[in-house]
Point group: C2
Chain length 199, copies 2
């Protein structure tokens, strides 16, 4: 058993909760933080608090933003007739990098996953339906990742929204099954958008 | 250019200053933090501040500790006649894992590196010399890493301390136990050859 002073052990614990940060990396980061200038460590600490305090969900698309509505929903030049549905806020960055898509977004903040006890009411589907009533939406592009949960969510949305008379499409499987949107280049993402098909 | 809200961009900046955390990983961590429970994010933030506030240098060995002297310096069972000199506080963990060494430690918090403008006065060498006057030390084991800076620091310490009449030794460098010759660089192999001993 390694003997860490309590505040060090606690810092390591907290850091190792982050994704992709194992015990060993957390330890390395903790010691680095302890050797940092005090001011720098304070900046790191406060940037976490500040981001949590100032960043809210956009009341329209549920994107993470410090202004409400977010800069994309506020942008008058963007096509109001298409909504691209994404799993998480970081997927917007990947979509925007492709410079192809000029419509709106909707962030689900999760995917339907019965295995993890996440049902349709646990993600932002209700908020998506509300938008369909208000806005002149013609097409919903479901751009969730091609995983089991991503496909299940896409299918669920299609069954829910098609009866309203709105076209529901799915981005093409140019992205390998099991992959993550965030990791692919703009060309792959453009292709996948171009080859979207009705579901 | 990616459009992040300012507090998100700031959080990514701060995270990407950590060692081994690139831009992409910092972005992934930032979004993870933003999606975390608020309480969890607050715990992460405060664990950084708390560690910085409560953890000080041990007045004897310069180890990071919340008690002064640290638990190793306080331990009466440890051999006061040997001091193992290390680059950083995390190296103590590696040494203690071996369960072999029962002496004292001294943490330099850096290595002499003229390239980075780090001289002998910028690391805890003065504090080491002070201990030699007070204590009944017979041997100094320099266990800095076998890098250019680690070797330079070891040589500097040896020249400084030997004239006082204290033995200065260097840990052996060679092929790690279980290692394969084929995987190690020429410097390691040269070292291993140089330090060969009769069997």
């Amino acid at each position: 058993m390694e003997q860490h002073a309590l505040p060090i052990a606690n810092l390591i614990d907290q850091l190792s909760k982050l994704p992709g940060i194992g015990r060993k990396t957390a330890q390395r980061l903790a010691f680095y933080i302890l050797e940092m200038e005090k001011l720098e460590a304070e900046k790191l600490s406060s940037s976490i608090l500040e981001a949590k305090e100032k960043i809210k969900f956009c009341s329209i698309c549920q994107n993470l933003t410090d202004k409400d509505p977010c800069h994309i929903c506020q942008n008058e030049k963007r096509d109001k007739s298409v909504i691209c549905v994404l799993e998480g806020a970081k997927d917007i960055l990947a979509m925007e990098r492709s410079r192809e898509y000029k419509g709106q977004y909707h962030i689900l903040h999760g995917l339907i996953s019965p295995m993890d006890n996440i049902g349709p009411d646990d993600i932002k589907i209700r908020e998506l339906l509300d938008r369909l009533a208000d806005e002149q939406v013609e097409e919903i592009i479901v751009a969730t990742n091609p995983t089991v949960e991503g496909e299940a969510t896409a299918l669920y949305l299609s069954r829910l929204i098609k009866p309203i008379g709105i076209k529901v499409t799915r981005i093409a499987h140019g992205i390998p099954v099991g992959g993550d949107l965030d990791y692919f280049d703009e060309v792959t993402i453009s292709k996948a958008m171009e080859n979207r098909r009705e579901i």
